[in-house]
């Protein structure tokens, strides 16, 4: 097990300076997800415009892998149609579950390719997927209440 394969410099960069960290308003849906086995937590807000992801912000407490994966995820989905984000998730999931046998597509996963090494640490795969599960949940809820019915303006408490 190569430590440097897990802790790529890109991952540590995202961990130290996570993108889209800090909960922003307005937003459509807020979710709170946890990894019950370890206690990692993420609060995540999603805004959609039609079927396009216009904003994802998060506040999380967790390890470097979960924090960095959430940061990378926000870069991958913001500004893209929901379907593209979901397709990217499938690619990321395939990489995570591939036990190191899947060659990541950098055109699709961008900084996400840095997580290829995580697949060789089965105990850490759930860390890398926490932010994604929160985003998928929030987005599905936002889509279900189309056209901003749930839009939280100003001091909305989510």
């Amino acid at each position: 097990m190569q430590l440097d394969a897990l802790y790529q410099e890109i991952i540590l960069d995202h961990y130290r300076n996570p993108h889209h960290a800090g909960l922003a308003e307005p937003y459509d849906v807020e979710v709170h997800h946890v990894n019950p086995s370890c206690g990692d937590e993420v609060t995540l807000r999603v805004s959609l415009d039609g079927d396009v992801v216009t904003g994802v912000t998060h506040q999380s407490a967790g390890c470097s892998i979960s924090q960095a994966a959430t940061s990378v995820m926000t870069d991958l989905v913001i500004g893209k149609p929901v379907a593209d984000g979901m397709a990217t998730y499938e690619k990321f999931l395939e990489l995570m579950q591939g036990r190191g046998t899947v060659e990541p597509d950098e055109d699709v996963l961008e900084d996400g390719v840095a997580f290829a090494g995580v697949a060789q640490f089965p105990a850490r795969v759930k860390c890398a997927l926490l932010g994604w599960s929160a985003w998928r949940d929030a987005t599905a809820q936002a889509l279900a209440s189309t056209n901003g019915v749930l839009n939280h303006e100003g001091a909305g408490n989510g």
């Binding site: 097990m1 802790y7 206690g39 990692d40 850490r124």
Partner: protein, 418 residues
């Protein structure tokens, strides 16, 4: 070079370690195993492994109901294990030992059966340092009955806060449930003192002995508890077997927990009567080979001597506490001196998340636990989301503690925290 603290143990560690085949395992990268996760699950000596194998190879059959030689042998082995465990914890009679599948089931049995007597206005008192398995069953019992759940707090030093004990334990208190040794803080609680207060108001005392029974000589006849739960896999025994010890007269008055075969006296379609303890609480085919293995495990620990195991635990804990204090940025959760303290040490390291610590240590062969160790409330009490925990047993050497301390130094340099 830092100087290592002095270490003295009554155990011959080399010969103890020779009994545990897994301890000579090599991990990825050629690292020898440094197993510091025994509070999570202990390793097994070949005596236990062989006993389980031999039971399946030579004596396997169902117990109590098989009318043949193998059935008689399996029954004798299973009931023999009950005798061994009864002697191991000082039970006054063998019928006080109920086999369960783990400590969680034992605590659920306690909460369910004692819970059947609860009603609105009654109070159940637990502590903030409990494992989830001694919190959730009582929450469920209170939800079912309308009783109120209350709890002892924890001091900044990680001790039970007894300052409001007089108010907390009162005439409404029906059950007081607490851990003997905290799995997260390592604190050894004053069970006798709390039990005396509980008994003074007529409450029943339930003790989670999961971390205590493996490490300390425990004598239930003088402990003060009415029910004590513990588990096999933390005391060099198999998984899938736990124990609830209870005072016989208390057990005899409790209703059944799970229904099924072997726990009955007479079953009619209109209703059933139930067997006396312990059978009343052992519905269905029990974990037979696991009980046999647990009996051998208890005999193994007795052979080495629980007093010596406790002295070793104390010595290795002191050694580890001193070593951990030399790591910059490291904060120990719970008592920082080896006084009334078991050998599970949880800590934080500034700037590095526990998962990352555990993963980096793992690549060096050092196995620790990271997370909330099934004790989220006590982590919340200390404003911590998760921690890293190192825990020890009779086979833990000072060299392994050194490997942990060295590994933590490497963690700090790897994550560039300075």
């Amino acid at each position: 070079m830092t100087t290592r603290p002095v270490f003295g143990s009554p155990l011959d560690l080399q010969s103890v370690r020779a009994d545990f085949p897994i301890l000579s395992r090599e991990l990825a990268g050629g690292h020898p195993l440094v197993y510091l996760d025994s509070a999570n699950s202990s390793q097994k000596p070949h005596q236990v492994i062989e006993a389980v194998r031999r039971h399946y190879a030579e004596h396997n059959a169902n117990v109590a109901r098989a009318m043949h030689q193998l059935g008689a042998e399996a029954t004798a082995a299973y009931e023999g294990a009950r005798d061994t465990i009864a002697a191991f914890v000082g039970a006054s009679r063998r019928e006080e030992i109920v086999f369960t599948k783990n400590a969680s089931e034992a605590l659920n049995l306690a909460a369910h059966t004692l819970g059947s007597r609860l009603k609105p206005g009654d109070e159940v008192v637990i502590t903030e340092m409990e494992h989830h398995s001694n919190i959730v069953p009582w929450q469920l019992a209170c939800e079912r009955t309308g009783a109120t759940l209350r709890w002892f707090g924890v001091t900044d030093e990680g001790r039970l806060d007894l300052s409001n004990a007089g108010e907390l334990i009162n005439e409404r208190t029906k059950v007081v449930a607490l851990t003997f040794v905290s799995n997260a803080l390592g604190t050894i609680n004053p069970v006798g003192e709390v039990a005396a207060m509980a008994h003074a108001v007529g409450a029943t005392v339930v003790v989670d002995g999961s971390q205590a029974v493996p490490q300390l000589p425990v004598d239930v006849s003088t402990l003060g508890a009415d029910l004590v739960a513990f588990t096999g896999h933390k005391m060099v025994g198999p998984t899938g077997i736990g124990v609830l010890w209870g005072r016989y007269d208390l057990l005899a008055g409790l209703p059944p927990f799970l229904g099924g075969g072997e726990m009955i006296e007479v079953v009619r379609m209109t209703g059933s009567t139930y067997a006396p303890p312990p059978a009343r609480f052992e519905a269905g085919t029990p974990p037979i080979a696991q009980a046999v293995g647990l009996g051998v495990a208890a005999a193994y620990l007795t052979g080495i001597g629980m007093d010596k195991i406790a002295a070793h635990e104390h010595a290795i804990t002191s050694y580890a506490l001193e070593g951990l204090k030399t790591v910059p940025g490291l904060t120990i959760l719970g008592p920082t001196e080896a006084v009334d303290r078991g050998g599970a040490i949880s800590f934080e390291l500034d700037g590095v998340h526990p998962h990352d610590i555990a993963t980096v240590l793992d690549t060096r062969g050092v196995a620790v636990r990271a997370g909330h160790h099934c004790a989220r409330p006590v982590h919340e009490r200390f404003g911590v989301q998760a921690s890293t925990r190192a825990s020890f047993y009779l086979y833990t050497t000072p060299e392994e503690i050194d490997a942990l301390i060295d590994g933590l130094g490497f963690v700090r340099s790897y994550f560039k925290v300075d």
